[in-house]
Subunit: 132 residues, 4 copies
DNA sequence: GTGGTCTAGACCACC
DNA sequence: GTGGTCTAGACCACG
């Protein structure tokens, strides 16, 4: 489903969260669909089950998934996007850092916007209205 | 010159690095200009000198600054931007994460691009040719 | 694994970096193999853990090692040598200094080349193709 | 006579020492010849006179030069090369470091020896017998 | 005065 | 257990 880089500075559990979200946006996993169980995914990716568990808990906290006791973890069917000012500020900081890095790599404004637009296109469904 | 959030998950020394780079891009510090000394900045921001030191060393490693023995740390006058494929990939990952987060906050493509363009404008000089 | 001279003018962390690199070249540590943990090495050599940490971070920055979160620091399996002109110039300066010093010690050309060839031989594997 | 890089990690006074020695080896300054006075050299290179003074003192300590009170500093006419075991060991360490660095830059044995031989040739007089 | 190194000891996130 | 960050306080070389 997605790749994990154990040597990356982003924690594994965070890579899993991002991977699941990306898979949902791309439509690889549909709303209502079941995610692999913690143990199953841990085995598939040879990762410590505790790490998967932590990722799943965070996904549920963010209401991206819901857990049904005894059944498993499912992609939310009624995800309601929310933007509080705090998260917006974090997002701006993240992009600002990206722009600064781009500047120091010698990437100009047009090239940068092109890269970003490409990334948006790759994440199919991003510009759709029917978000589940 | 810039604000430090001690409670943030991004390390203080990294916030300092980003802050200095941002100040340079915005033209608040000019190429050739002297940065505050390690001790001085430490006093100004009530941060341990070792933390400032770590930030300054990383800035020098990235060739953003040069240090002259016994004189201090100065903004490089001949910074040459470099983009290797590895750094490009990291940049793409950073922006991809931002786009995914934006999606989950209910921000649509147009709004996102508007935010990014605003951020670029705020960083004056980004679309100039005379990068220091 | 290697000796540290606390009285030397070369910083301890740099001696550690050189020692690790030398051990790798000599084949005493193989690609993929785990280095002693920061604390362990600190205990073994009665050196402050922060000093070891600084050495390990520099080794990782140079891509000589990779660190896996929660697991430890390992010798890179896919090290790709790089020679930019700047590093080449530094290398030339270093050897030039050595040659000048040798001259002032009364060592002639043949003797100097003999010494250098011996040093190369001691570092087993230097003339092999399978660099890790 | 030679270039000084204030941003280099090698101290300025050491760069001066090396520069003088190199100039002597190359024959740019002959045995018995007078070096510029401390003040004169300081003015020429816009360097603090104390720094020049320190370099000259060290050159005299190494018996590379002799100072005649009221006359100035002169290149020794009867320099007797000496190799004690301590200095030999330092020299070996220096070359070992260079070889390790070369290895990590992907330079092979033949290429390295070629570079070293070139450097020796550039320092004219190195393979002569009539060392003054 | 400047930056560079080192120690001691603490806290944290991650696996 | 692992590495990563931070503080406090010390000493040093350099200009």
């Amino acid at each position: 489903m997605f790749n994990i880089d154990a040597t990356s500075s982003t924690p594994i559990y965070e890579q899993i969260i991002d991977g699941v979200k990306e898979a949902i946006i791309k439509g690889l996993i549909e709303p209502g669909e079941k995610l692999p169980s913690v143990r199953e995914l841990a085995r598939m990716m040879t990762i410590n089950p505790n790490t998967i568990q932590k990722a799943y808990q965070e996904l549920e906290r963010q209401k991206v998934t819901v857990t049904v006791r005894g059944k498993g973890t499912f992609v939310s069917e009624d995800y309601k996007p929310r933007k509080d000012e705090e998260k917006m500020e974090e997002l701006r900081e993240l992009f600002k850092k990206g722009i600064i890095d781009a500047y120091y790599m010698g990437i100009d404004k047009e090239e940068l916007l092109k890269i970003i637009k490409e990334l948006i296109s790759e994440l199919e469904g991003f510009d759709k209205d029917d978000r589940g």
